[in-house]
Symmetry: C2
Subunit: 134 residues, 2 copies
């Protein structure tokens, strides 16, 4: 059985926040949005239906938990959830805080312009706030 290893591209684009029972919780290093990525720690899975049913049940609860925390921490109007994987095949779920006037509103964040990395101080503060909220 292969062990879980985080995809290199996901690792490069994100900051580690915490491990939940199923998912690794990452912060996308893009100051334009408060944007979490949940990566189920299972090897060789790219589609939801390839997860075991018990893992799916955990995953939807972790998505709900991340969504509620992000909504409350950010005051966003809407949470966007997406599992695309057209570029990075490893199953990963985006949970993104959205509000009118943000850089892509009302369109999707994926494929929209270039990420703006956090200033180190800002990401530290946000990570601390998210760790508390999550």
């Amino acid at each position: 059985m292969t062990e879980f290893t985080l995809d290199e591209r996901l690792a490069a684009d994100t900051v580690f926040i915490t491990n939940w029972p199923l998912s690794r919780v990452l912060l996308m290093n893009d100051a334009r949005y408060s944007w979490l990525v949940l990566v189920p720690r299972r090897a060789d899975v790219s589609e939801l239906y390839e997860l075991a049913a018990a893992d799916r049940a955990h995953l939807i609860e972790e998505i709900a938990r991340a969504s509620a925390a992000l909504k409350s921490a950010s005051g966003a109007a809407k949470i966007n959830v997406g599992a695309l994987g057209n570029i990075v095949a490893q199953l990963h779920v985006h949970v993104v805080a959205r509000s009118p006037g943000d850089a892509a509103w009302p369109g999707p964040v994926w494929g929209n312009g270039q990420a703006i990395p956090y200033e180190p101080d800002r990401s530290d503060a946000l990570i601390a706030r998210l760790r508390a909220a999550l």
Copy 2:
């Protein structure tokens, strides 16, 4: 308690396929992609965390079921799943068959150009095939 009514914009953009235990299953009337929309038949819900936990457990199974059926019916390279709701607040989950070379690949389908409605014959045939696969 308010009764579930399908959002008018979702109704206008889609064709009814079937009702599953939780979700209404719709086909997006856009011949560019094989694209299902699952709408949990619950009133006044726009975020996943507003669903009851039991409904969330059903929803993830219905998403997996739709994804596997769509993958098998379409031969697509990847299934994209998204719950955005920036424009239509009623909770709805997109399940979209994607392949290299499609109209938006590798970007997201949402907000990408104009829908191309099906020719009536084509949508009838696709709906019949999807009903069989689902």
